[in-house]
């Protein structure tokens, strides 16, 4: 990876540049095979997170590969991240665990279970809801956001 | 292989003043910088109680009461972020560079600055008296 892009073709490097990042929505049923494909292509798991939307929730798995992006790079673009996104219903959301391919994913999956109530089957290390022991179970699950003012 | 690598440092420290300060007997007074964020001060005389500071405060530490002409701050909630100082239209808030001194009492869980005396109503402007006609000196 070049440390200073200033010398390339005389274009001064952008200040505070924006990365190219791609999001791909996939059905839950294809999640494991897609993740297996990412693993075989050498992508590393950056993080996994859940977002609650109005009608459903989405779980995003973000991957990164050094210097590569699925979006074709040009002089102004940077190495990007690729996100696989699955949509889950609000009630009884379930996911298979990606631990067979990425062992460190157990932390993200336990966190999703503790905070959002998503059931993840087959985690490598399962804390059974006690990763974050909060007074209120699944504290991030709220009917409506409570805007303070 | 090195076994006495710290000896030079030890010798130097032996013959120089300590790096620590006997706090709280000796405060950092002369060395606190101008920009240090200590606590919020207010010049209550020019405050117009517009509540811009209370709206901007992220921790809701400021409570402004316009009818009572009161401006309260909960020192223990204030995180000295300087947002209120920047937004005040009258520039009556300022950031002092001394910390709030530690306290052992909590008055109803709020460390409240005693309300300042209410603003004196401005005296009505006196109509300008015409200047006395100049008397010429001498005849």
């Amino acid at each position: 990876m070049s440390d200073s892009a200033a010398t390339e073709g005389g274009i001064p490097p952008a200040l505070n540049p924006r990365e190219r990042q791609a999001v791909e929505e996939i059905p839950v049923s294809t999640l494991l095979e897609r993740v297996q494909k990412m693993r075989s292509e050498g992508w590393r798991l950056v993080h996994a997170a859940c977002t609650r939307l109005v009608a459903d929730q989405e779980v995003s798995y973000c991957f990164d590969r050094d210097g590569q992006s699925l979006v074709s790079p040009d002089a102004a673009s940077l190495h990007g991240m690729h996100t696989l996104r699955v949509r889950l219903p609000m009630n009884d959301p379930e996911l298979p665990s990606i631990s067979p391919f990425y062992w460190p994913a157990f932390l993200y999956e336990n966190e999703m279970h503790d905070l959002f109530g998503i059931t993840v089957k087959g985690m490598a290390l399962d804390f059974h809801g006690h990763l974050y022991t909060t007074m209120v179970p699944t504290p991030y699950v709220t009917k409506e956001p409570d805007h303070g003012d | 292989m090195s076994v006495l690598g710290m000896s030079r440092t030890i010798m130097r420290n032996l013959f120089s003043p300590p790096s620590t300060r006997l706090y709280p007997t000796r405060l950092k007074e002369p060395h606190r910088t101008e920009r240090s964020r200590g606590r919020i001060g207010i010049d209550i005389e020019i405050c117009i109680f517009c509540s811009a500071c209370a709206k901007r405060c992220p921790t809701d530490a400021i409570i402004v009461s316009k009818p009572d002409k009161e401006w309260n701050i909960d020192r223990l909630r204030c995180c000295t972020c300087n947002a209120c100082v920047e937004v005040c239209p009258k520039k009556c808030l300022s950031m002092e560079n001394r910390y709030t001194p530690p306290t052992v009492t909590k008055d109803k869980d709020i460390f409240r600055q005693p309300p300042k005396p209410p603003k004196e109503p401005e005296a009505p402007a006196q109509p300008e008296t015409p200047a006395p006609p100049e008397t010429s000196a001498g005849a």
Binding site: P104, T133, T142 | S2
Partner: protein, 384 residues
């Protein structure tokens, strides 16, 4: 899971990928809880260490002692106020969190940050990195019992933190970043003075580095302990100096965010993968930071330091920065209203905890504090 063990937290932990040895009943096994309160830990983390005599066979981590639910604050505070929250996620690496957040929101709103502000952010990031690495060096020295070295590290660190206070008003939580720029400017001559003082401190840091890298007693405690091979580091998803000490040359700063495209530097890499290599990487990064500060201060342009921001964030973006501990991701998602829809922080220690579990397997009990510190745990970041 074969052996039954006392479970004070009430968490029934299954080891789906536990090594085979754990399934055979072994009479000489004990489980020792490490943490959450331990003299060597800066922040609480709990480890259940399964020991056979004095060797650690398995380690089960448990975090969650300082979970504050920061990400839920997105519902109560609008996107401008969240800067104060992001500043306070961590008590060591605070500035880079707020910078990463501001970068994320600025990318969503397509805000052009003035160049001077970008350079100032870079300089402050590097100063924050200096003080964080010095803090780690001090804690590491304390972990293997070299307390006077710990004091010397903190003595140097105090001067850096004083410089930060002169420039911004805060020592660690600088409170100086905002969406659209920075809130304070630093005069050019003050900046030149800071650079000169940092370079002088480089001499003192060199003396400190000599003790860390060459002293016999230190090397006895660090050499060959907690080896993480290159393949393991890649598989476990390590970030930061953990990964660079195992030979993977990756540094998020090379992506060129902020003003890093304008400064020349290369990732600091070591190949042996043990604790000594991690210590060495962080020490070399100290000098690299001093160099970057000098370069950035020489290239800093004039102009304003902040622009007014109007409108609301819409869209999503992963903002990446290189913290002293590794790569941090701030994921912001807005829906066009004043309040963000989601704010997610993936801190580097979160990615390094699985690596901690792996390097603890097979080590001696006395090496556990050193190994726990070697990942530079910032647990308050991890749990937010």
């Amino acid at each position: 899971m074969g052996t039954s063990r006392p479970d004070p937290t009430g968490a029934a932990v299954t080891g789906g990928h536990a090594p085979d040895a754990a399934l055979r009943p072994a009479p000489t096994r004990t489980v020792i809880p490490f943490g959450p309160q331990h003299p060597v830990l800066p922040e609480p983390i709990h480890l259940d260490l399964v020991l056979e005599d004095e060797k650690v066979v398995e380690a089960i981590p448990k975090i969650g002692y300082v979970h504050r639910g920061f990400e839920k604050l997105v519902e109560k505070m609008d996107f401008n106020e969240l800067v104060y929250v992001s500043d306070r996620i961590c008590g060591i690496c605070a500035f880079i969190h707020s910078m990463a957040y501001c970068q994320g929101v600025e990318a969503l709103m397509s805000v052009e940050v003035p160049p001077r502000a970008v350079f100032l952010r870079t300089i402050w990031s590097e100063l924050a990195r200096l003080q964080s690495h010095l803090l780690w060096l001090g804690l590491m020295a304390d972990a293997f019992g070299f307390e006077s070295l710990f004091m010397q590290s903190f003595r140097i660190r105090e001067k850096i933190v004083d410089m930060l206070e002169e420039m911004t008003g805060g020592r660690i939580i600088l409170g100086v970043c905002r969406v659209g720029g920075v809130r304070r400017d630093v005069a050019d001559d003050a900046l030149a003075d800071i650079v000169r003082r940092v370079k002088d401190l480089g001499g003192e840091m060199r003396r400190l580095a000599e003790v860390f890298l060459h002293d016999d007693s230190v090397r006895h405690r660090l050499d060959g302990i907690g080896v993480l091979s290159r393949e393991q580091a890649a598989e476990l998803g390590c970030v930061g100096p953990m990964m660079r000490a195992s030979g993977i040359s990756r540094d998020t700063r090379t992506l060129g965010y902020a003003a890093y495209g304008y400064v020349d530097f290369a990732p600091v890499v070591e190949t042996s993968g043990d604790s000594y290599a991690r210590c060495s990487v962080r020490i070399r990064e100290l000098f690299q930071s001093i160099d970057i500060i000098a370069q950035a201060a020489s290239k800093i342009p004039g102009g304003e330091v902040g622009v007014k921001v109007s409108g609301y964030p819409d869209g999503e973006y992963h903002s990446r920065c290189e913290q002293p501990r590794g790569e941090v991701i701030h994921y912001v998602k807005g829906d066009g209203t004043r309040y963000l829809q989601r704010y997610r922080v993936r801190t580097p220690t979160f990615a390094n905890v699985p690596a901690l579990v792996k390097i603890l397997q097979g080590c001696e009990l006395a090496d556990v504090p050193v190994l726990v510190l070697t990942i530079d745990p910032c647990i308050s970041c991890t749990e937010r």
